[in-house]
């Protein structure tokens, strides 16, 4: 295979990776941070780093999510948003508010706020492992992203599920 072919393949791969994973990454980051601008910046930065310093491993999707998670964390710290993210306020901009769907109803808006508030009560690691699980990542990939052992991911996930469901269950009964 010539250099030109290799270059074209790499170009196609990057484009393909972007098309396949950008939306999921952006959605994950919005849920993680509740900040659409921050999510867009982090997602973009992850793909730029993929081009500039491509990883050696083949788990590019997990790598993208891990990089974007780190970017969000570092950026949030730098912007002094970190405490705000951790403390979480039910009244703050809820997930999806920055980018409301055109057909968003009042009911879905209320649910979004409730989920956002419940997520904000989780710790950063609990929120990360929970949202990465929702995106279908294996435990060892989640462990790399949050900097922990594979074995402890299950425990963290159980804690996060219990917390979040405890927050949402009463609301769920009232809304259904």
């Amino acid at each position: 295979m010539s250099d030109r072919d290799t270059s074209q393949d790499q170009r196609l791969n990057v484009t393909q990776l972007f098309q396949e994973h950008y939306d999921a990454l952006f959605r994950y980051l919005v849920r993680l941070t509740g900040d659409g601008d921050l999510a867009a910046d982090a997602a973009q930065e992850a793909f730029v780093r993929l081009v500039e310093r491509p990883p050696q491993n083949r788990h590019l999707r997990a790598w993208l999510f891990a990089v974007a998670t780190n970017v969000v964390r570092d950026t949030a710290r730098a912007r002094a948003r970190w405490l705000k993210l951790l403390s979480g306020s039910p009244d703050r901009a809820p997930m999806g508010d920055v980018l409301p769907a055109p057909d968003a109803s009042a009911e879905s808006e209320e649910r979004r706020k409730l989920v956002r508030a419940a997520l904000d009560r989780l710790s950063w690691k609990e929120r990360t492992v929970l949202l990465m699980r929702e995106e279908g990542f294996a435990h060892h990939e989640i462990a790399v992203a949050v900097g922990t052992t594979t074995g402890s991911v299950g425990t963290m996930l159980a804690r996060a599920l219990n917390k979040l469901s405890a927050e949402l269950a009463p609301t769920s009964e009232s809304l259904r």
């Binding site: 990057v14 730029v48 500039e52």
Partner: protein, 307 residues
Amino acid sequence: MSSLVGSHLSEGDLVRYMDRQMDREELRLSRAHLAACADCAAHLDALQKRAALVSAWLGEVKVAIPDEQRALAMAAVQRARFRRRAVPWISRGAMQAAAAVLLLLTVGFATPPGRAFVGSTVERLSGDPPGPLAERLLDLLGRDPQADAPPPAPVTAPPPGARRDSAGPAAAAGPAAAGRTTPNPAAAARLPEGMSAPVEFTPTGNYVLVRFDHHQREGSATLWIRDARQASGQIVAGKRNETLRPTGDGLNVANQRSSRAQYTIIIPTRYRFVRVKVGNAPETTISVSRAKQDWVWTVSLADGGPD
């Protein structure tokens, strides 16, 4: 594995079981335990319901992704890809090696101390006389407007009645000690009396420092610098009405008989030879190493000894 045998499954184990994150053996043991343990089975069931509830809530919350954001991100990726293609890939090790070589060349050839070190090393290693390659390298190190100048006039015989100055061991070694050859007693013997040999190499500054000390006879001592367009003098110590006057062909030093001044004349470097005329004594020539361009020469303008 031990936690899966004989005791209840932990919540972490249940999540790993639920998410199919166990290896085959763990899975077999967990299945066996769940089949026999109603508590763990109920716990697993509750956990699965909670996970489904959370997934449902998260799934219901739609996150709209504006096309503008996606387009901006894609444009940034394209720019990054363009930058990456524009810069040829060079390994970090190769870049570090190139930087080290560049640094060595810069220090070795573009700075006076570096040239002095490289030149002296070449001189030491090349023997006397240097070989053709060493000559070329020394030419490169000392390339200057005088590079093609004809050799200087031979050193003249010492005037009668003159004496050697005692400026130290290096002073007795003759000009060759500061030049590109090893100390040569014969050359030192040809020095005019009243003039010492170069005594010190100073790698700092872009100047040749010529130091006159001892007692100076009345009249003038003229430094002739081949092809010099500029020359200046500066008395740095012991001034006693000495005057330093740049001339068309060098620097004229007018001194007082009674002077004991020790002063330094600063002349531009990059000259191979410095001609020095002491009073009425014949002119002599001091060769400057092609490699070493910063020197201190002590020239004693003695007039029959100390007062």
